[in-house]
């Protein structure tokens, strides 16, 4: 297709810009909110340009230091919002869990997906179908048994519990995605390596992996994001800040009726920085990955 010109192109450009505005505006409003004091934020009509912008909300999250203008709009909101001080430990928990899930998906997921894609072995088809269809069970339908399993393993309120559960959730997509990906790679080089006496594992490691880097990056990002974003099981399986992840903490903060909205907005901005950066930096891999995943 060639570039369009004239009034039609202008209309299309306008539509794209409006859509981009709809996507970005909520983030923008959160950023503005996070730079205002509570008093400025709860004004009618809303203030769109914080004057002056303040980093007091961020400072409170990081250091627990009350802002200098506390006296003006009361110390009460700050006391009731003290939970936001747990954001950093919660983010750390999220990172530990999501990174572990990501690494396991790239290592074990890729190994298994390669076997499914290239090797013939007994039970291959049924194992593959079983792994894929396991995701059709709705999450809430397995909530109680998951709790029971984790309790039985004595893993309640640990990172390990969340990692295990998220692995069960992310493996099926990884297996599907990577086996499609590996199957689309030309088999010639692998066959040459095998003829030269490399065993399967060496072939995989030295020949397949270097060629599959884009697919592995997409896999890693998907696994990381879905673990970082998961809420229901994090809510069920954790009890204290020892293991509570960011979405659990944010939900607790947000459903507190006396919370400071300015603080909440600052928390939102801090919490979305990692996935937003990932989405922007790995945009091509993610888009390409998602497109491969549906194109068969």
């Amino acid at each position: 297709m060639t570039a369009r010109r004239g009034p039609e192109a202008a209309l299309l450009n306008l539509a794209c810009l409006l859509l981009a505005a709809f996507i970005l505006a909520p983030f923008g409003w959160m950023l503005i909110s996070s730079l205002e004091g509570e008093a400025e934020l709860t004004r009618r009509p809303p203030v769109f340009v914080p004057t002056p912008p303040t980093v007091a909300n961020y400072a409170f999250i990081f250091t627990g230091r009350l802002p200098s203008d506390t006296a003006r709009h009361g110390i009460f909101v700050w006391q009731t919002s003290y939970e936001v001080r747990l954001l950093l430990p919660a983010l750390k928990n999220s990172f530990v869990v999501a990174t572990a899930v990501m690494v396991a998906n790239v290592v074990f997921g890729a190994l298994a997906a390669y076997s499914f894609a290239r090797l013939r072995f007994r039970g291959r088809r049924s194992a593959y179908t079983f792994i894929l269809t396991s995701r059709l069970l709705p999450a809430v339908a397995v909530a109680i048994p998951f709790y029971a399993i984790v309790q039985g393993l004595e893993l309640l309120d640990t990172h390990a519990a969340l990692i295990l559960v998220y692995l069960a959730f992310t493996f099926p997509f990884t297996i599907y995605f990577l086996s499609v990906y590996f199957r689309h790679m030309p088999p010639d080089v692998e066959e040459a390596a095998l003829l030269d006496g490399c065993n399967r594992f060496d072939t995989f490691l030295r020949v397949v992996v270097p060629c599959a880097v884009p697919g592995l990056i997409a896999t890693a990002a998907f696994a990381f994001m879905s673990s970082y974003n998961e809420f229901l099981f994090a809510l069920l399986l954790t009890q204290t800040i020892k293991a509570q992840t960011m979405p659990v903490l944010m939900a607790a903060v947000a459903t507190n009726p006396a919370v400071s909205h300015a603080l909440l907005a600052a928390c939102v901005i801090l919490a979305i920085i990692p996935p937003a950066l990932l989405a922007l930096a790995l945009r091509r891999y993610l888009t390409q990955g998602l497109m491969t995943s549906i194109a068969k």
Partner: protein
């Protein structure tokens, strides 16, 4: 360990074990739970009750109310996400300058947690200090602040807007993938045959999109019915249970009323419902023709 006969089993086993542990056991356990009386506040009554839990669930007033809320939400959400995704996909596929910009930001809402999306939109719709109220008031569309989240109709719409914002990008990228493989010659041929813009969309684009649209519809239906995070942070099921969709209802049944038997029966009903819906979709869209 890397001997050729055992290699596939060794590599597949770790994945298989984790998936099986969290699939087979939960299924058996859920069925077992659903057939026994199991209320955590009465731990000693643990009799086999057959299908009584199922009977009690489906005759419950709140169950039907929640099904109604679920159906309303799912229909609105699936239609809205699919149309939004289709529109976005078509725009992304246009060779104009701003489409490249859109491509950069389109995945952002999809990348962040649904919990965060809920928090952001709840703050936008806020009845006391919400920016939506501020903007509407400034443009004189309303004459005083409206508590959007306190009215059953508007609360449902707020939930759908937040859902579409978060969920639409994925549908858009899926549909873009399908749009990009449509051969350009077909459009030339359609133009030569005298087809206008609508007709080439209707007779070239849509038939090519059918398989992907089917997948998007199925996937989005599952996602909409299972919506939980958004309800948890935005509405808590309210007002007056208007947004107590079935995932939320099952959660409250289990964790507020601590009735595991009911919860498990409900979970099985949800799973069957979703399975039935998927079969219906596949038949309606004549799956065999598509693949």
């Amino acid at each position: 360990m890397w001997r050729s006969y055992s290699y596939p089993y060794v590599t597949v086993l770790p994945v298989l074990v984790v998936v099986a542990l969290f699939t087979i056991y939960p299924l058996v356990y859920s069925v077992h739970l659903s057939l026994y009386e199991n209320v955590l506040t009465r731990p000693l009554d643990n009799d086999f009750v057959g299908l009584q839990n199922f009977r009690e669930v489906v005759t419950g007033f709140y169950f039907w109310r929640s099904l109604w809320s679920t159906a309303l939400f799912a229909v609105m959400a699936v239609l809205a996400v699919t149309l939004y995704g289709l529109g976005t996909g078509l725009l992304l596929n246009q060779p104009v300058f701003a489409s490249a910009l859109l491509k950069v930001v389109v995945l952002l809402p999809w990348a962040i947690p649904a919990v965060i999306s809920g928090i952001i939109w709840r703050w936008i719709f806020d009845g006391d200090y919400g920016v939506l109220n501020g903007l509407l008031l400034a443009s004189t569309a309303i004459d005083r602040y409206v508590p959007w989240m306190s009215n059953t109709v508007t609360a449902r719409i707020c939930l759908v807007v937040a859902h579409v914002w978060k969920q639409g990008p994925l549908a858009a990228v899926f549909l873009l993938a399908a749009l990009q493989v449509i051969p350009g010659e077909l459009y030339d041929a359609a133009r030569i045959d005298g087809a206008g813009r609508w007709n080439s969309f209707r007779f070239v684009t849509l038939p090519y999109l059918r398989a992907t649209l089917a997948l998007v519809l199925i996937y989005e239906t599952i996602v909409a019915i299972a919506t939980f995070d958004l309800v948890y942070v935005m509405t808590g099921g309210g007002p007056a249970d208007a947004t107590a969709i079935i995932g939320w209802y099952a959660y409250t049944e289990i964790f507020r009323f601590l009735n595991l038997g009911h919860g498990a029966a409900l979970a099985i009903i949800i799973a069957l419902l979703l399975g039935g819906l998927m079969l219906l979709y596949m038949r309606a869209l004549r799956w065999e023709e598509v693949y």
